[in-house]
Symmetry: C2
Subunit: 462 residues, 2 copies
């Protein structure tokens, strides 16, 4: 072990400093196999003070740090490349549930599903919900400003955070764990650390907003003729029910490849509709919700916004509807060479985005197959271009198609990364597509708070 590893072992216990390759392996490999890394050792602090002392020792030794939560990120930011790895896994305590304040304080290493369960046990809802919820941890979800399927009603992680505790790049501790709804005493410093992907400090705990448990939930699936019809449907449903908690779309091809490649999944719409739309509704009381939805769906069918509308008759059918949506990532993986994107545009521009991007893809690569799905209610599509059937994988112009996707999104006032972040994967694209003043301001912040570039030094910036 190096001097630094020995110093840290003396502070947090030798068994919490790991150099064994087998034990390190799960922390050095991204779950899809796209990134693998290296580290001199991994340190596992159990407290904020331990994390702070590790940072101070690293700074004194001139070492850099990569921070890791549940290792579920999609852009490579959590995999070290020679830096000391700090894993927050042992900081896994729920420090407080204050039901009377509708808040819960969790350490960085607590898994999202654990927070959801703890909230439910207090008759409250923590609404963040996403595919990795049984592995992703609060620290990572805060640091990446995670999204998911309920952003439409409850916002992203940024909107769900009341307070933050973080270790700064010089080892000082920022103690901003207040559970306040209102606090205008100076700059809102917690915002710095939310979505900063660990480049400005290590989030060690967060105070999170809870909501009342909805008493009633309904799930609907519709076959819709076009994205313009889906947009009209979205506004109609929001205005008529006030209860829309998710509005997800899947284009026809995304449904087809999923039904083909994921045996447990079926298409409730049996092939109908250019788009399948899944809507979830939540309400504080059951009375009137079903009637309001049925009436709104009747109007939507009448107006031609939908061709078919199915209301889940029970929880099992609701799970079936969601299973299709949640299986699409797995569904299109086996379809050959592909490039994936996570773009957003203003909600009003979603039909225009799909029309322009699809046309530009076909023009550049005739026969390209487009899987478009995701959170249309937030203006966010997961948009994948797959090689034409039977084409030579080596000839697939993936990089060129990615640039086209980003150009189309940007031209509509959109974003090249709606919820997945920048990490390592999108650093070059960020430098290309972000305006000069914003990039300069980002570097000003990074330099002011982490002048030695200690924290996640390869993340976000080229």
């Amino acid at each position: 072990m190096s001097d630094l590893a020995n110093q840290i072992a003396a502070r947090i216990g030798a068994k919490n400093v790991v150099i064994d390759a087998d034990l390190l392996a799960p922390h050095l490999n991204e779950w899809r196999g796209r990134y693998s890394g290296k580290t001199p050792f991994a340190a596992f602090p159990a407290t904020t003070e331990e994390a702070a002392d590790i940072v101070k020792l690293c700074v004194a030794a001139g070492a850099k740090i990569t921070t890791q939560g549940g290792n579920t990120g999609l852009v490579g930011g959590q995999i070290p490349d020679g830096e000391v790895l700090i894993s927050l896994k042992r900081m896994n305590q729920i420090r407080e549930i204050d039901a009377g304040n509708d808040s819960l304080t969790a350490e960085a290493g607590v898994v999202l599903a654990t927070v959801q369960s703890a909230a439910a046990e207090s008759n409250r809802l923590f609404p963040l919900s996403l595919a990795a919820e049984h592995s992703a941890t609060i620290g990572g979800l805060v640091s990446t400003n995670a999204g998911g399927v309920h952003v439409l009603r409850y916002g992203m992680m940024r909107d769900l955070v009341l307070g933050i505790e973080a270790v700064l790049p010089d080892g000082r501790i920022f103690s901003g764990l207040k559970g306040l709804r209102k606090d205008n005493t100076g700059y809102d410093l917690k915002q710095l650390f939310i979505g900063a992907e660990g480049t400005l400090g290590i989030v060690t705990a967060a105070c999170l907003k809870l909501y009342p448990q909805p008493a009633a939930r309904e799930v609907v699936m519709l076959a819709v003729p076009s994205a313009a019809h889906a947009l009209a449907l979205l506004h109609q449903m929001k205005a008529a029910t006030g209860a829309v908690s998710a509005f997800e779309v899947m284009n026809r091809l995304s449904v087809e490849v999923t039904v083909k490649n994921v045996p447990s999944v079926r298409d409730p719409l049996a092939g109908a509709g250019a788009l399948a739309v899944l809507i979830e509704f939540e309400a504080a009381h059951a009375e009137g919700l079903r009637e309001a939805i049925e009436s709104a769906l009747g109007a939507a069918l009448e107006a031609g916004e939908a061709e078919t509308a199915l209301i889940a008759e029970n929880a099992s059918q609701a799970r079936d509807f969601w299973a299709l949506r949640e299986s699409i990532s797995a569904g299109h993986k086996p379809e050959g060479v592909q490039v994936s994107h996570d773009i957003s545009v203003p909600v009003s521009k979603t039909p225009e985005y799909l029309a322009k991007a699809n046309a530009a893809m076909q023009a550049r690569c005739p026969g390209v197959r487009i899987v478009a799905f995701g959170h249309m209610g937030d203006g966010n599509f997961h948009y994948t271009a797959m090689q034409p059937l039977g084409a030579d994988p080596a000839s697939f112009p993936g990089a060129a198609l990615t640039q086209i996707v980003y150009e189309v999104a940007t031209s509509l006032g959109g974003s090249i990364s709606a919820e997945h972040g920048i990490g390592i994967t999108r650093r070059g694209d960020l430098a290309r597509f972000k305006d000069r003043e914003s990039l300069a301001l980002m570097r000003t912040l990074k330099h002011a708070i982490d002048p030695m570039n200690v924290m996640n030094p390869r993340t976000m910036f080229e």
Copy 2:
């Protein structure tokens, strides 16, 4: 005119640079008469580019800047003391309403009520609502992260902002006016300018979130025996109806002095209850709302959470209920020497705050009269200590009482300024009550972004 004034006049037109004392007067005096200031001249840009060029000219001349919106602030930040005054009043265009994106883009000088009306004309709601809404401007509301009566349901201004345009302290323009619900491309730079009270740049425009217009609204007033009962009532109403949009309380004395001093106002509860509670409900459809409220109120009366409950039978009665709440500021002004505060605590701690603060006030100043009212649903009280009846005003220990209020709030994890900000008034208190690391981090940000201390140089920092 000075060289600088002449240079700016050459850029934006002589009539938009004001040195005449009579014309300056409305900009140099705070509306309650607590602050009056001085300036070499006031500049009124009409465009973002004009504002940027004014800043560049000021920087080149070594001049400091104070920025002003509607001059409705309560902490003196908008009144210059020798700095060049930049007023955003002429930047008063609504640039875009995108109903399909539920967003509206307004320049800094647009008055809040104008935004509310424009949203309503597009069949949308802009939910921010506060007493100064016919004077306060978007730039000031963003810069002070304004709150108001609908925070419980819709959040503060920070939660209602999708994008920001701002002039930086060196005259560069930050163009972050995107209308996106999701954008994880690097640091969320707009957060820097929200609530920064103009110390990091001049907000010139904002893209704001709109909501569907609620189809139904109900207003209820209740006599409640104690703050603990009011807290139970809050959670009961939220869970049972899912429709609470405001939860305001007024202690008995605040109602009494208002009825006494504001002739147009009456007390619907005719003196009942230690606290009067006003609850507003909103729903997307009228069916079922009244029944849900009546059922929840029945349960609350049964449980002893309320002694009396009145449901407004029509819009006129609802306005009467709100008129009492909105007249309290005017109602206690005539009651002699007083010190006012705007504190928050976790919602669960609101009864404890009132008990501890009231006891500590009486201990320090026997006979002191406490007016406590405001946004209990957000943990926020406007808390005023008034001189004992018949006491010598000169003997009133106002400063000492303020320190006690802040000590009690801070000891409960609270804030010394929930929605009014720091400005000039609370700089000393901020230095005393904010933790050292947060103050240091604030100074780091200020120095990184405004190293010459050009922007609102006396605001927030001592």
